[in-house]
Amino acid sequence: MTKGPAPRRLGRFIGLDARPVNLDGFSKEDQDAGLVAFASANDPEPSVEVDADGRITELDGMPAADFDLIDAFIAAHGIDAEAAREAVSLDDVEFARLIVDPGTPREHVVRLARGATPAKLARVVALLRPVELQMAIAKMRVRRTPSSQAHVTNRLDDPLLLAADAATAVAFGFREVETTVPVNRDAPSNALAVLIGSQVGAGGALTQCSVEEAMELELALHGLTTYAETVSVYGTEGAFIDGDDTPWSKAFLCAAYASRGLKMRVTSGGGAEALMGAAEGKSMFFLESRCVALARAMGAQGVQNGGIDAASVVGSVPGGMRELLAENLLVMLRDLESCSGNDALVSESDVRRTAHTVPLFLAGSDFLFSGFGSILRYDNMFGPSNFNAEDLDDFLVLQRDWDVDGALRPVTEERMREVRGRAARATQAVYRELGLAAFDDDHVEEVVVAEGSKDITPPDPRAVLRAADAILQKDIGILDVVRALARTGFEEEAARVLAMGRARVAGDYLQTAAIFDERMNVLSKVTDPNDYAGPGTGYEVSPARREEMAGIRQQRSREDYVARQAAAAPEVGGGASGGGGGGGATDAPAADGVCGKAAGTTGGTTGGTTGGTTGGTTAAAYSIVQRGVARPGTDPLEVCVGVSPAFAKQLWLTMSGLPVGEALRQIVAGIEEEGCVARLLRVRSTFDLGVIGLTAAQLAGSGIGVGLQAKGTAVINRRGLPPLACLELLSIAPILTAALYRDLGVNAARYAKGLQPEPVRNPYTGQAIEARYHAEVVALAAVEREACERDAPPVDLEMIE
């Protein structure tokens, strides 16, 4: 048998292969390796046995004598024996419905979940479809007000940049700021810089520095951080031991943080065990359910999961993205704060990574991100987040699109300059005052304007290290920072840093899901409980907040578009105009069409049109002068060009940025090039392009007319055609060029001569032309509509070069 040549590859596959999504890895389900999202044959059947003393003697098929570390801890601390039998014997579907049903009180579900074993809760939640998960999340999350966390790191551990970026994150609305280090020993410096920066502009943002457990605790003990999060737990004993901890060491750590007044949550997240080769053949979701049960048992107030380091392992298997969302719900069901992942970048595909985040974003969470990369991707020392600084505008727009509070707000350039400058200067001052490092003013300036660390002159890395070492050696704590800030003129920030210290004494932010708002009010399970119970209940976006979310800097009003048009109007007083009353063509049919005599007339009419180039364009000067009422022509070579009511009166630029006169000149030139005669007229009663074109055709001696709207859309029409029919249409105004207008003129003339020209083709791009321009189209249409004069007949125009 001979092999023929390989068949030619299909273009469709060549194209698809090159798409970003195909850089992602996709795994076949493999139960033995733990590469299964929801249900492995190795997952145990839910079960629970309770002895007469209320002790759990069997958990998910495992007798107490065989409990591993995780079972043992959960059995000892994590299951409410009174609720256990009821929860475990409840029908899975019935349980699932109670979770979703807005009519079943959240507290009822929480009580049942207290008795649910890891296998039971995993099995019940696995039944929920994505939209049911969203409903459940809306109801079950702990805090009513959503919030978000930012990553603030950079490649250089530059303290000034860290502080400026922390202040930037707070300006955007993040209420927790997490930093980490590329160089481990820099940690104390990073913690200090982020602490200072986080209190610029507004108070109350919590900060942490994610490093090795013992170091992280030490920083907390110094008062340089205000919460801890990277207390990792795992769903199998093997993975736990590999992580160099046990449930008891972690539980002790929880108590240690609380003993110093620090808020603390643990970190888990599906796929970690599979990644470590220690999944024991169990599904990711079952193992995550164990982690979350353990977190509750340890007395942590919250869990970070659903899109952490191993998120892409979860994402690689079928149902993986649903699993990640369901992880967040597990936390909420255990009545813990959900710090809901969206942390690790899950895909090279913008479509796919966005699709991962959106369901949770719509449902709302205690923390929508457990690390939005508020710095550039390359500066994120955790690795890129699912959303990053590059995506901040996208995120702000998504909030606005959906009327959903994503916890962020627009920031003006002026405001960002202010907070970055203040944060960098305050940090410079504190480092100098405490004898840690000297950064010069040039460095401050670089930091303020830098997009990321590649834009600044790197500081001496040893200077950062020395500063970090000095912080530990000199035993610098929060009070030293407060004093240094106050002594160097940053009293406001000093007071805010001190307030974070005072907050530890008060202890109210140790409660579940606690954050501070910018007035240092604690929002938590205790003070701001989620009360969602169906439509009309739960968190509501206030009118003020809605306005804030709506107010993105890209938002334009009709006035803005009109002002842009007005700015493109030819200057008054030049060209053919003798008057100074504004740049419009005369409105009323001027007697004998004398231009420039109407200057100063009232009633909205303005002086003669003046021609001229608009900013940056090279179009020749022109003016358009109105003559008498247009009469039917008789010259068989005459082509009429009809323009819209606001053309060269209120509107001066087409959507492609071409001066309207230039578009008109090109059409005329095309007509004349073919030996025909162009007559210009204005249709005043409507701006409907079909009617303008048809009116021009009916008045033209040849029966051929061209219609041209000020926004640049153009049509060729023939006398007698129905209004919606036409010979040719240039419809995509934003990408029309002068050459296309000329071609259109040429063709109009050819029709007039009885020829059959090849139609001018609309240019085409794959761009979202409508998204780009429709907001402006609406504004320009409104201007045209206002310029319409009912029953006013068409008038002849003259264009004077």
Binding site: D68, L69, A72, H77, G78, D80, E107, V110, R111, R114, E213, A214, L217, E218, L221, G223, E237, I241, D244, D245, T246, W248, S249, A251, F252, C254, A255, A256, Y257, A258, S259, R260, G261, R296, M298, G299, A300, D335, G477, I478, L479, V482, R483, A486, R487, A494, A495, L498, G501, R502, R504, V505, A506, G507, D508, L510, Q511, T512, K525, V526
Partner: protein, 130 residues
Amino acid sequence: MTPAPESEPVAPQALSGCPLEEITLEAAVNGDLSPADLRIHPETLRHQARVAEEHGNSQLGENLRRAAELTAVPDDQVLEVYEALRPGRSTLAELEATADRLEAADAPLGATLVREAAAVYERRGVLKPG
């Protein structure tokens, strides 16, 4: 256990006894505050434990009660206990000794946690070979 009503007025003071309202910028700048003035008081933690229990989270309450005990334990000893509880760090006897030290430091809940760990570690082979 009969939790006190949440409405029970609590005027937090720092570990040092410094009342919350005296933790001011002025005091900080004048050098009138020490680190202990920014440390949480065990009674505050117990109050927060009661609040957590009233809100249906006995485990968070338990954790805050363990934390209350640890307020009196110096930083380095806290780190030592944590280290002793990590896998393979301690023999059974060493964990017993750690528990005894906590007991002596008026941290019985912490001691119980360590003893519980010791028993499970032994059964699961997580002790330091000794």
